[in-house]
Amino acid sequence: MLLDTAPRRSGVLDALHRIGALARHNLIIRLRDPGQMISYVAMPMVLMLVLKPLYVRALDQGAAQVATGLMVMFSVFAISMAGNAILSERTWRTWDRLRASRAPASELLIGKTLPLFAVMIAQQVILIVYGCLAIGLPVPPSPPLVLLAIVIWAFALLSLGAALATLVRSHGELSVITDVGALTLSALGGALVPLSIMPGWAQTAAHASPGYYALDMMQAAVRGDAAGIAPSAAVLLALGLAAGAFAARRLARGWGRGGLL
């Protein structure tokens, strides 16, 4: 006897169940290959510790600069985590297998990106807490404001990573773009050297870098300046929405049979 054994529930509950299954599945994959997560948390910790004396002597807000700067820089590196996770679905040919399931594209995307989003948020929270405990970053007067800034930045990074993954043809290509891009964008944004002591052209070019807005937003959040985070948060949200919409459109259609190196 052939039966459709799936019990029918309300649409929302069914959708939540499927998203939960996908998120759990992707969390398993993340946890079984934690190398990138560990390195993007451990490396900035080491660098903060080593560079702290230099920044503290050179700048008034040296501890804040080194903690937020390196946090922004290594969170940009984490774009490659999102990119690799999505690109792997393509190289393993599993994305089309998922698309053939009952879950619509929106659920697949949410289920796929939810664990990545959580990892990115966790990375930034750990680095801020570490900055306070070990580097001398003043304890932010408004932790929810810092968390809000972290969530917005993680959303923008996740969207950029997802969009990038739909464009590149191999993990090698993705690696080159994310490594070089992360270093350039975050350095240009003032993550390594404060913008105020950078040359004029660099200060102008900085406005084209998401890293600039992330650093501006993060430093305002750490100061407890709610109004100060708004302009940069708006830019990053817009960027995240645009990149996310692009990625969602590409992923919903699948990749077809070509395009890989």
Partner: protein, 278 residues
């Protein structure tokens, strides 16, 4: 159950499907044959709602492929597995996506593990399995929710004997329960064993469709008789049994070996290829 009418799909200048028409009834196994590029995989992708056709219509139980996705089980031609995830976790994922819950999910997984001979490897990561074990895992993912329509795209490609036998057993079982099955393959004897009806695709359309016996009826078989262990007489005929009786009545020397080969699907395939190439 599945009705596809006049499907057209173009990729640039290539017409992957060009008036592809095929229907499959509940409980029927249709063996879809054809050379590479004949349109088999494109057809499977359209029915799975992965690709939109440029023309034509597909219905599954009267619904569009999009609306009927939960009723379809797909095992794609290429392996599509997560290497760091275990067999059990794969089946849990696809079962949950299809709406199965706790006890029903556990039961479905345990049953499939037995039928597809996966019990021993349920907690191993698929990246560490043999090719045959990976094939069976992939098929299990397509079957876990007991779909009404099964699309198996070369499910035994490169598989060992154990995998092939397990796959044929489960396909027969599911068809017996009422599932419609589309089974694409290059291994023609599998279709004889499945008692499948045959559809042969060529250049994006179905050129022949019918029961295996009917299609083979007019094709020549072969009778080979060896006399005295030396001389060999070979006769091509549509009725090998009658030809053998006739031959044995006519020869006077001792017969030391007899070989009778009935027409096979390979013969059909070759004959169609010649006819349509001409």
């Amino acid at each position: 159950m599945l009705v596809a009418t006049d499907l057209v799909k173009r990729y640039g200048d290539v017409r992957a499907l060009d008036g592809f028409t095929l229907s499959v009834a509940a409980g029927e196994i249709v063996g879809l044959l054809g050379h590479n590029g004949a349109g088999k995989t494109t057809f499977v992708e359209i029915v799975s709602h992965l690709v939109r056709p440029d023309g034509g219509r597909v219905t599954i139980d009267g619904r569009s492929p999009s609306a009927a996705r939960g009723e379809v089980g797909v095992a794609p031609q290429h392996l599509a597995l997560y290497p760091s995830v275990t067999v059990r976790e794969h089946l849990e994922l696809y079962g949950r996506l299809a709406g199965l819950r706790r006890a029903a999910l556990r039961e479905a997984i345990e049953e499939l593990a037995v039928v597809l001979r996966l019990t021993e490897i349920m907690d191993r990561r698929t990246g560490r399995l043999s090719g045959g074990q990976q094939r069976r895992t992939q098929a299990a993912g397509a079957l876990v929710h007991r779909p009404r329509l099964l699309l198996l795209d070369e499910p035994t490609a490169g598989a060992d004997l154990e995998t092939r036998q397990a796959m044929l057993d489960v396909v027969r079982q599911r068809a017996g329960e009422g599932a419609a099955v589309v089974y694409t393959t290059h291994y023609l004897p599998e279709l004889t064993e499945l008692r499948a009806t045959i559809a042969v695709a060529r250049s994006g359309r179905i050129i022949v469709r019918g029961a295996c016996d009917e299609l083979l009826r007019d094709l020549p078989g072969e009778v080979r008789v060896t006399l005295d262990g030396e001389e060999e007489i070979t006769v091509s005929t549509a009725d090998p049994a009658a030809a053998l009786i006739d031959l044995l009545g006519r020869v006077s020397r001792p017969v030391t070996a007899v070989d009778v080969r009935n027409p096979s699907l390979d013969d059909l395939y070759r004959s169609l290829a010649v006819t349509h190439a001409a």
